[in-house]
């Protein structure tokens, strides 16, 4: 499989603090790739560089064979990278449906077409029945799925998910895991996720990257990564060895 996203020797410093340190990895097309690591490991910084919130200090990020580092967020989204935010930010006063229509309008001229596409996405994410509600009236699990729906509606080739499972109950987590797996299988959507919930990571990811102090300390299949002594030491803790 060829790489859809390539992160090549990317670094980012904040006032001398190295958030991401010469990081290399590749996300294969069609895969589900997870980035894990303790708080402050640089995961969200990495995401923000891929999504265009800020540019790397050095290194290169390529998507579908083209450099994207330094492009603004809207241009990156138009290239085919959709994202969610760690702290959800739906458009609060708009209805669930209108939230998703906004995303769908990115590659559609007419509202009618966008609405049809939005309905499709809403059905997939179990939000269709709530489409007339204001986004601000939704519960957290629903808002998390709405974030995914809005990003999906932009027809991304790569979906960046920033802790979509955080704060959810296990049943809600399993629900999102099932939805994401189905999406990946049926549409070939590539997913890159940051996640703390190991239950979700183990169920979803085909490959895992472990960040610690901005550097990769392990990379590989879920089975191999959780047995890696360095990972256990810095992140998972000794009790996870078994």
């Amino acid at each position: 499989m060829s790489a859809l996203l390539t992160v090549d020797a990317v670094s980012k410093r904040f006032r001398g603090l190295v958030a991401v340190d010469r990081l290399n990895f590749e996300v294969p097309a069609g895969g589900i790739y997870a980035v894990i690591g303790p708080n402050g490991a640089g995961k969200t910084t990495l995401f923000n560089m891929i999504a265009g919130v800020f540019a790397p200090d050095s290194g290169a990020i390529s998507f579908a064979g083209e450099r994207i580092d330094g492009l603004p967020p809207d241009r990156i989204c138009r290239r085919g990278i959709g994202r969610t935010f760690q702290i959800v930010r739906p458009f609060p006063a708009l209805s669930v449906e209108d939230n998703v229509i906004v995303g769908a309008l990115l590659h559609r001229r007419h509202v009618v077409d966008a609405r049809a596409h939005a309905h499709e996405v809403l059905r997939r994410l179990d939000l269709y029945d709530k489409r007339a509600q204001r986004a601000s009236s939704l519960t957290l699990p629903d808002r998390k799925r709405l974030e995914v729906a809005r990003a999906l509606a932009t027809d991304p080739k790569l979906l960046l998910l920033d802790e979509v499972m955080a704060g959810l109950r296990p049943t809600e987590t399993d629900r999102i895991v099932a939805i994401l797996k189905e999406l990946n299988r049926e549409t070939g959507l590539t997913i890159l996720l940051i996640e703390h919930v190991m239950r979700a990571v183990m169920a979803l990811a085909s490959r895992i990257l472990v960040l610690h102090h901005g550097a990769a300390i392990a990379q590989g299949t879920p089975g191999a990564v959780v047995r890696d002594p360095a990972v256990i030491h810095s992140y998972l803790g000794a009790e996870d060895v078994s």
């Binding site: 809207d74 989204c77 959709g82 006063a93 708009l94 209805s95 007339a132 990003a151």
Partner: protein
């Protein structure tokens, strides 16, 4: 086109709109001269409120300097008429681009250099103030001594030159208000309308959904400025005199935004309702005070202040969102 415009609007709302429109069309037949000028003022504010609402209510950009576009439109058309005898409709060809350019200039400065929120509002005030001081000293438009349009007797109505009886002005501003209402409805239902609301709600989230926020904010400012300049042209030809201290003054900018705030920012009917409530009640108050022989300068401003206070305390979203739910006309949540 029409089918799309009324899609999702409750039948009762359409009926009510129809009744209101008919009432406004026949109003000059029964209204006194005084009432007619009040109605003209109401429709004038309904029109500008609509234009301002595109920027603030739709795209979320607070302008406190809309008097700038009124003034530029007014001065452009009036001076072309006074100096070259060019009528107001042709004058619009100058007024609209001038105001649109001014809007684009402010927008570019603000949006390129990330001047947002209150700082953006201050920038809009500053440019309007610059214009006020500038026009005060600009000889070609007669500076602070004012620009006067020749006033003729109302022997006949000349629609092409906008010279004539108030009834003609009434229908002109009524047509403009109706068109502005329809335009705003169409904009809200279009791609750009959705993008504006997204920007208003959360600009960063809008960008990450692929929206070129700079571009769409510029579109909002330019459309709003261009629309507002027509109100300026109307103002110049209706009142026949222009003073920089009056048209560009910040109190004018504030007057413009009171209607939409009281009626309901971001709603289509809010600016219309706000204009009726505020201007209607304020003029009634003025008339009542005059009839009682009481001379209270500034009573209108105090009244505006009280209205604003009451609405902000009791109905922070404005009267229309509350009223429309009460009378069962609420549209799907936008």
């Amino acid at each position: 086109m029409i089918a799309r415009l009324i899609e999702g609007v409750p039948r009762r709302a359409l009926l009510l709109l129809g009744v209101l429109l008919v009432a406004l069309i026949v109003a000059p037949l029964i209204a006194s001269d005084y009432l007619l000028t009040v109605l003209i003022l109401i429709l004038y504010f309904a029109y500008i409120g609509q234009a301002w609402n595109i920027m603030m209510g739709f795209a979320g950009q607070l302008s406190l300097g809309h008097a700038l576009y009124v003034g530029l439109g007014a001065y452009a058309a009036a001076s072309f008429y006074v100096h070259f005898g060019i009528g107001p409709w042709l004058g619009l060809m100058v007024a609209v681009p001038v105001a649109a350019l001014a809007g684009a200039f402010i927008g570019f400065l603000a949006f390129r250099f990330r001047v947002a929120g209150v700082y953006f509002a201050i920038l809009t005030i500053a440019v309007a103030e610059f214009a006020r001081v500038g026009f005060d000293h600009w000889g070609w438009t007669s500076g602070s001594s004012g620009l006067f349009l020749p006033v003729a007797q109302y022997t006949h109505n000349d629609l092409w030159l906008l010279r004539g009886h108030p009834v003609m002005f009434y229908y002109v501003i009524l047509a403009a208000s109706v068109l502005a209402f329809i335009l705003c409805r169409a904009l809200l239902q279009s791609r750009v309308g959705y993008f504006w609301l997204a920007i208003r709600e959360d600009e960063e989230a809008a960008r990450s959904a692929g929206i070129d926020t700079f571009h769409y904010k510029m579109v909002a400012v330019v459309i709003s400025a261009a629309m507002t300049s027509f109100a300026g042209v109307f103002y110049a030809f209706f009142y026949n005199n222009l003073f920089p201290e009056q048209v560009f003054h910040i109190s004018r900018s504030i007057e413009i935004i009171l209607g939409p705030i009281v009626g309901g920012i971001g709603t289509l009917f809010g600016p219309v309702l706000g204009a009726f409530v505020l201007t209607g009640l304020a003029e009634t108050l003025t008339a009542a005070l005059a009839a009682a022989g009481v001379d209270l300068p500034g009573a209108k401003q105090v009244f505006y202040g009280i209205c604003l206070l009451l609405v902000i305390m009791a109905l922070p979203d404005g009267i229309w969102p509350w009223l429309s739910k009460r009378i069962g006309l609420a549209e799907r949540d936008k």
